[in-house]
């Protein structure tokens, strides 16, 4: 190999380094050749003494990338260093596959913990704002388009409870659910209203027609005593309803009304503190009446306030869990980074050793 092909191969090997670094290295070797030639040696002899220019280039590249990495510790310079070391064939690349997988996993968990923290924080802030100003309403569940029916049925006591009267069974059920009144369930897209004995419902259509119903001995009938065509149920299209009133035997009143501005019925927006479209009038002043979702994702009218606390509890749990996970992951990242740094240093040291040997 003569000087020209040595320098050509060296240049090709150095390609991805900055232009000025390449020209500096090339001029240093040109100088070396010049000095050695003046010493009476042949180009071939010098080239052989200097070693394989491609390997030399790879080694100089590792050195340059490593130096950049030492100066500016970031992921891209680390990747270049690892790539350069891998080019020398020292680094076992099979090792890198699980490592990359681990890095991906770490990143995913990091993102999840950040999302959890932010969601938790938002929930806690929402709860704070709700407690202070009543906004936003935490019970709102938007039911979407105004189709489907409102189906009114009378509560049927369990058949094996035949010894009890319907009233007793209803009371027992009421006790179970706190002091729940007749229940409103939402079964997409229908609203099921189940009237307890003694409870009454008044449906006002948008045209102003009124239908008043009551439940007596497990049967649905008109409040004025008139018979229904089907004495077990009554249905009305949701879009026809203007107003819905439930008056329980205890005297609790639930009123759900179509919003004059939006034209929607906010079925389960039960923020009695401010929103006028759906009003729950508690019997006692310290009662908070809400629609609460139960385990089966049904809404029940209950006279127990728990959702805001649930929001707070859930939000706090998310926030604390998210932050704790994030700190743990940060600690893991630190360890991983340190491990990677020492691993790359060790590999770099091995290259230096191999070279001197």
């Amino acid at each position: 190999m003569n000087q020209k092909s040595f320098l050509d191969q060296l240049e090709r090997g150095l390609q991805d380094l900055p232009r000025d670094a390449i020209s500096e290295i090339l001029s240093d070797y040109t100088e070396y050749f010049h000095d050695a030639l003046s010493d009476g040696r042949s180009e071939q002899e010098i080239a052989a003494a200097l070693g394989d220019p491609r390997r030399l280039a790879r080694e100089l590249k590792v050195q340059m990338h490593y130096r950049t990495w030492e100066r500016e510790r970031n992921v891209s310079s680390l990747m270049r260093t690892i790539g350069a070391i891998a080019g020398l064939g020292v680094l076992n690349f099979i090792l890198a596959v699980p490592f990359m997988f681990y890095l991906c996993l770490l990143t995913c968990f990091m993102a999840v913990s950040v999302i959890c923290s932010i969601t938790g924080l938002i929930m806690v802030l929402m709860w704070g704002s709700h407690t202070a100003t009543g906004w936003p309403s935490l019970q709102t569940a938007n039911l979407g388009p105004d189709d489907g029916y409102v189906n009114i049925t009378a509560f049927q006591p369990d058949s094996d409870d035949s010894s009890k009267t319907a009233k007793e069974a209803a009371d027992a059920r009421r006790k179970e659910m706190g002091s729940a009144t007749s229940a409103l369930h939402y079964h997409m897209p229908d609203i099921e209203v189940e009237l307890r004995d003694g409870d009454q419902i008044k449906l006002t259509s948008r045209k102003g027609e009124v239908v008043a119903l009551k439940s007596e001995h497990g049967h649905l009938q008109r409040a004025d005593g008139g018979k229904l065509e089907d004495d077990d149920s009554y249905s009305m299209r949701r879009r026809e309803i203007g107003k819905l009133n439930v008056v329980t035997a205890d005297g609790d009143t639930v009123q759900i009304e179509r919003d004059a501005k939006t034209g929607h019925i906010d079925w389960f927006s039960m923020d009695h503190a401010g929103v006028a479209s759906a009003i729950v009038v508690p019997k006692r002043a310290d009662d908070t009446v809400q629609l609460v979702m139960d385990d089966d994702d049904d809404f029940h009218v209950m006279t127990r306030a728990s959702t805001p606390k649930k929001v707070l509890g859930f939000g706090l749990a998310l926030l604390v869990g998210g932050v704790v996970c994030f700190i743990l992951l940060l600690w893991l990242v630190r360890i991983t980074w340190r491990g990677t740094v020492s691993f790359v240093r060790w590999q770099f040291g091995r290259i230096q050793d191999a070279r001197t040997a």
Partner: protein, 117 residues
Amino acid sequence: MKIQLKKGTLDMCVLALLARKDSYSYEIASNLAQGMDVSEGTIYPLMRRLQNESWVSTYLVESSSGPARKYYRLTPEGQRELASMRQEWREFVTEVESVLNAQTTGSATGLDEEVQK
């Protein structure tokens, strides 16, 4: 054994050469090759490494007969490094020699005891 020893001491030798006078890579390579069994190819990457460690600095000297020559000079940091390397080297040599000598005396004493028995 010799490789391991050489690895640690090559840096020190180059720094020691430069402590005497500023020099350029071919001169350094030839001087080292005279006294040690060193491959010429290792010198340039080594010089760049010493530069990275800021132990040596470079300056160019124009030449009438060819390309400009890059001279290497020991920096104050390099001088301190060389001093501590020399110190370590002396301590190492002393330790090794004391062990080697002790072994000789040790086995000699052992032999004496054998004889006495």
